[in-house]
Assembly symmetry: C2
Homo-oligomer: 198 residues x 2
């Protein structure tokens, strides 16, 4: 396919989860490839000076209501994970490793992990929880967890995160299409318009 | 009218400007009253610990692009005021005074001042600029500027801002309708839906 939409995400972001539930359909409708870009949100925050909205209590409370409104609009479940905040470093490394080793199955992996995290509220920061989720979804859990410890994979996540910051990211989800960046699960209509122009 | 939508704003917010260009039509279409709520954004930030998006440079750069996209969608001009940041304390006091003394003409005043600030990029923080803008728009400039110095008016702005924080505001624009808060000029579709339910 000649046109694509890049989707920057971290499994720790409920907004990126919401975007992940909509983007496959948006890309397919536009005949565009959905290009998954796993990055470390904590690294982006550190590099840009940005912080999570929940650091401002009033904003954090509103954000939960706002995301539930969108979940209802999209018709998808949204459980605020009681385990939060979860350090997603190992998880994002596993994602990078899985994307490199089995790119064709990566969209299914993203869907399974996001569903477990925000559709069911399971603690993906705990390897004892992550393993069975991967197995249930039909993946080789041991291989994916081991893949996350590969120095090449670790370095790749670092590089991808640094490149994202250079590109202008200050959080996730962020989408690139038609040469432009769109930030937030609430900008999917602009993504749709950008794909329509290609 | 029995149903209303409350619109919290400060003249320093370009996002609130964009909302101000759309809300009168949204309220009218729903047969709802648009209730203007002038507040001091700086006071809300101070009380909640929130900060302007421009404090994170990457976020500030994106925000300008994002707001221009919405301005294009709405078909309204948007000039990033070269005078920024403007201290809006005097301006918001004048707004409170004008709202108290001539409530029926207040929507026209809001429109004129927002247009000067973000449609034309004029420096409303400078009394020498503000005066002629008020006169051009058909208001008694001297009376409005004098009104902003009234202790009752000053106290009212403080009270309104504190009450807004108690209500959950962490920034502007914020709208209340059907008992719910909606934050941001990008949530006007939810405002429309809330008015539809009333």
């Amino acid at each position: 396919m000649s046109k694509g939409i890049e989707f920057y995400f971290d499994f720790g972001s409920p907004a990126a989860y919401l975007a992940s539930t909509q983007l496959p359909r948006i890309a397919a409708a536009a005949g565009a490839e959905l290009i998954y870009k796993p990055v470390l949100l904590g690294g982006i925050f550190q590099a840009t000076g940005n912080v999570s909205p929940v650091t401002v209590p009033a904003k954090g409370r509103y954000m939960m209501i706002d995301l539930q409104r969108y979940a209802a609009r999209y018709g998808v479940p949204l459980v605020f994970n009681p385990q939060f905040p979860i350090n997603t470093l190992q998880l994002m490394r596993c994602a990078i490793g899985a994307q490199l080793s089995q790119p064709a199955r990566f969209p299914a992996l993203v869907e399974a992990l996001y569903h477990a995290m925000f559709g069911q509220g399971r603690n993906l920061g705990d390897p004892a929880v992550l393993g069975p989720i991967l197995t249930e979804a039909g993946f080789d859990a041991a291989a994916i967890v081991a893949g996350g410890t590969d120095p090449v994979v670790k370095d790749r996540l670092k590089q991808e995160t640094e490149a994202a910051v250079k590109r202008g990211l200050f959080g996730v989800p962020a989408m690139f299409g038609d040469g432009a960046m769109f930030f937030g699960q609430d900008r999917l209509d602009f993504v749709r318009e950008a794909l329509g122009r290609l």
